[in-house]
Symmetry: C2
Subunit: 308 residues, 2 copies
């Protein structure tokens, strides 16, 4: 799957991923109205609204991008109907040929991590049949529990040719509270990064490992160091755009081959029509605004990579 992701990045010339993290207040009124007319102002209505919203964005952008990253929390907040919209979104993006990074940030003790891995990346056995629960291509994983919380995910990835992005240095303002604390002269995130590189050796693709890392765009200097600590690790870089990261900050997340990183933007793409820059598209044409925001993001990042 890391090979497929790299192929798609090369084909689209776009080392980016669109974060499908729909909030109801991003969804244009005409979509909400239609969904509520059919299902009422219910969880089912909300789920239908975010699904139709997603579908519009995917239809308008899938030819330009290699991957999407749905954030499951934004669906889980609507309970079961929300999770059905998550699954529908994953299935639809797969039909469109996109790589799906399930941003689930799961992680637990061994037997429990195994269950999460099976549910999101693998197949569960029921009698003589087996079924995929959510069937993403990659999942994000929290490393706080250490190796035995991560390895069950890696086992399922090996079996299914799937991959992970493990949290190393997150994009949020307080990520340093624990992640930056100094241990034997080096911050915790470097120790986690080293472990990710080590885990990654267990499941290598062509050049890059199936086991990637998450490093926030908001910390470019740390990205530079982590790039060297984890040379064969693909880095998922959240925090571009709305969270503050810019193309020029991101060049050091990439290797000299122009690969090694994939930059996520969520709000900046899916709610582009709400920004002054794209307001002329109008709410009705929110998906066209998203398409233009993708084009601009790719230009920003490619420009920065070409100028380095």
């Amino acid at each position: 799957m890391i090979n497929k992701l790299i192929e798609k990045i090369q084909k689209t010339n776009a080392p980016i991923v669109v974060g499908l993290d729909p909030m109801l207040n991003y969804v244009p009124e005409h979509i909400q109205k239609k969904a509520y007319a059919e299902y009422g102002e219910t969880l089912e209505g909300a789920a239908e609204a975010i699904w139709q919203f997603n579908k519009g964005i995917v239809d308008a952008t899938y030819d330009l991008i290699p991957a999407v990253k749905p954030q499951i929390a934004m669906y889980e907040q609507f309970g079961i109907p929300g999770l059905m919209a998550f699954k529908k979104t994953v299935d639809y993006c797969k039909e469109k040929g996109l790589v799906i990074i399930g941003d689930v940030k799961r992680g637990d003790i061994g037997s429990t991590s195994a269950a999460y891995a099976v549910g999101h990346l693998g197949k569960v056995q029921v009698g003589s049949n087996s079924y995929a629960g959510f069937d993403e291509d990659f999942a994000t994983v929290n490393p706080y529990l250490g190796s035995d919380g991560v390895k069950p995910f890696i086992e399922v990835c090996k079996k299914e040719n799937k991959g992970l992005f493990i949290l190393v240095k997150t994009s949020n303002p307080s990520s340093g509270e624990f992640q930056d604390r100094i241990i034997d002269g080096r911050p915790l995130y470097e120790w986690v990064g080293e472990k990710v590189a080590e885990w990654g050796e267990e499941h290598m693709g062509n050049g890059y490992s199936y086991i990637g890392a998450v490093v926030g765009a908001t910390y470019p200097e740390m990205g530079k160091v982590l790039r060297k600590i984890m040379p064969k690790t693909f880095i998922l870089v959240p925090g571009y755009g709305a969270q503050g990261g810019k193309g020029a900050d991101l060049v050091h997340f990439f290797n000299e081959d122009g690969l090694g990183a994939i930059v996520n933007s969520s709000r900046g793409i899916i709610a582009a029509y709400k920004q002054a820059q794209y307001a002329s598209f109008g709410e009705e044409n929110y998906a066209d605004a998203s398409r233009q925001a993708v084009i601009d993001m790719v230009a920003d990042i490619s420009g920065a990579l070409n100028n380095r």
Copy 2:
């Protein structure tokens, strides 16, 4: 909700929680057969089997215990039907008057943590209506992202009178890989414990905070230290029984008032009938075996507390 939990612990005289973490291979054959006869060997069939299994255990133990802790991964592995069984279990346990600790170990950047908090502990707004997605009483939370990943959960807890248990020192063998690393002379888990105590001051109940901690039974010496660092923090203690913890190891997780901790057992209770000690109950009477295992666990812990 922490007050309700403490009241229920005092009323039942049982500082324990039953982990409803059903694996299909724990579910007696007669339950599986019946579920598959109705739904086939499908995700729906598996979900029906684990729900019926849970219901039997809850019916046989609810008068003896204050709380249950369903581990959502064990449901999530069966996709949407599994999560429907999770919700059914939460709702049923609530009907029975039990406190529900949703073992979800969520945690993300601020806006995403807010969505998880709403989904599991709060209510989401849809037009002019609001709905609870899963509606547990407590949720477990991963602290790796720092304060701004935790505070949105605390905000929802304040609004809804609900609580958290934040991972401090987990019960698994490799938990020390990052959690035990020394920072300024003290292990990371102590720094996290201090933060949990600080966060807890924001949302106090009568004597104890709504914001609790998770500390594994498998590390009793660390529990002793953490008990002192977080005097007003209720500690959820996993790892009793199947994972190796014993009653005598657990006394230092409790304060002198006999409160301050709640010990979880999952496999040891719900799959008791598979142990030599309870085999005489027979598979058909698995729930009676669970009831006896609860009685024995309470006696083990109470005995240890009385003898200290």
